[in-house]
């Protein structure tokens, strides 16, 4: 599994405001990176830049390996039962055994519940289930702990540890403290413009 993620001298501008600049880092196989910072400092923008969904104002991003993104927006059909909403992405991702992820994230009992009835934490777990079934080396996670209870938080940290141990990369943007395997932290406040 090839995996590399490198950012060189990234600057990000939203509207008229320069959020941060001069940000560089490199992640190789097995690295976990925690992007820390207060609300509005540009964590989500940085995640989207790393994913290639947003153009950086300056700098370049190099990626190797497929990217899985978990963000606030769920991208699951609200009116469908969870199982069928996830099935669309499983077909796209060529996932043949989706049940393992549902069990890991304790979603098995919810597959017949329409997505719009799920709670915040359950929605987050659904997005994580899609990420697991995508089976991709580079994880970009934007505030994955939001709404998760303490059991689910520990399960999530175990998942990230497992992913990195298998040679994957995990970049986690979160304002909360995280127990990641090889704790590398970038405090975005240091790069604020």
């Amino acid at each position: 599994m090839q995996a590399r993620l490198a950012a060189r001298d990234i600057a990000c501008r939203r509207g008229e405001r320069l959020l941060f600049r001069g940000l560089s880092f490199e992640c190789a196989r097995g690295d976990a990176l925690h992007l820390a910072g207060a609300n509005g400092i540009g964590k989500s923008s940085l995640i989207r830049i790393l994913a290639g969904l947003l153009r950086p104002f300056a700098g370049t991003v190099e990626r190797e390996g497929a990217i899985g993104l978990v963000e606030e927006r769920l991208a699951l059909d609200e009116n469908l039962p969870l199982g069928r909403a996830l099935a669309f992405w499983e077909r796209l991702d060529g996932c043949l055994a989706p049940d393992g992820a549902l069990d890991t994230l304790d979603l098995g009992a919810l597959i017949d519940v329409p997505v719009r009835y799920l709670s915040t934490g359950q929605r987050k777990r659904a997005a994580l289930a899609r990420l697991l079934n995508r089976n991709c080396p580079v994880w970009l996670l934007d505030e994955p702990l939001n709404g998760l209870d303490s059991t689910a938080q520990r399960a999530f940290e175990a998942l990230v540890a497992q992913h990195c141990a298998a040679g994957g990369i995990a970049v986690v943007a979160s304002h909360q403290a995280l127990a990641l395997p090889s704790p590398r932290t970038i405090a975005l406040a240091e790069y604020a413009a």
Binding site: R48, L53, I67, G68, L69, E71, R73, A75, D77, R91
Partner: protein, 217 residues
């Protein structure tokens, strides 16, 4: 991959699908055909002469109704972002959606044209021309609708704006499609089909670019 996309889009857009409001454009179309004789009077010759044009205007307006939920919902939910990460180009997603959109509204509209033509006292010949014209023109209407829906998807109150923007862009389709009723040769129909195909070729690119631009907002 295309099959999976098309299946999801059809589930979203078909009448009875989970997008809801699927048959409303159709009922709206029939309602216009029904109201027109009440408004201008039941004089059969007048109805027969103007009915074809009324059907075309009603079809154009009915094509505007489903635009609100065509792109905006998926854009807000981040579906196109997730597709992008999986290597599905926005243009491809939009081309598939164009096909699904057309399949969801045009065949039923053509069916509903038959009772509408009866209400408006159209001759068999005129009904045939209207049906052929709509068959040639609805892909163009769908294409314009899709491009405009994508352009306005990230705006607040975009749906109303979309309706207004579709009307001038759909004018060529209307002019030649309805114009086919006034002349005996098939030239106007062929021209309608040509405009439609041109619009269908352009729309996925315009809509795809609009979705990419919406990310930067």
């Amino acid at each position: 991959m295309i099959a999976a996309l098309l299946r999801r889009d059809l589930g979203l857009l078909l009448p009875g699908g989970r997008g809801g409001a699927g048959v409303l454009p159709l009922l709206f179309f029939l309602a216009v055909a029904m109201l027109y004789p009440f408004a201008v009077g039941p004089e059969p010759r007048l109805l027969a002469r103007t009915g074809g044009g009324v059907i075309w205007v009603a079809a154009l307006l009915a094509a505007i109704l489903p635009l609100e939920r065509l792109v905006a919902g998926d854009l807000e939910a981040g579906v196109f972002d997730q597709l992008h990460l999986r290597g599905v180009a926005e243009e491809l997603a939009m081309a598939v959606r164009l096909l699904a959109h057309w399949l969801a509204f045009a065949p039923l509209l053509l069916l509903a044209t038959l009772p509408a033509a009866a209400l408006l006292n159209l001759s068999g010949e005129a009904t045939r021309t209207v049906l052929l014209g709509l068959f040639a023109g609805t892909p163009g209407l769908a294409a314009v609708g899709l491009a405009v829906a994508a352009l306005t998807a990230s705006l607040r109150g975009g749906a109303a704006l979309a309706g207004l923007m579709v009307i001038p862009l759909a004018l060529p389709v209307l002019v030649f499609g309805a114009g086919a009723l006034a002349r005996p040769d098939p030239g106007a129909l062929l021209f309608t089909a040509a405009i439609s195909l041109g619009l269908c070729a352009l729309a996925p690119f315009a809509a795809g670019a609009a979705i990419r631009a919406a990310r930067e907002v």
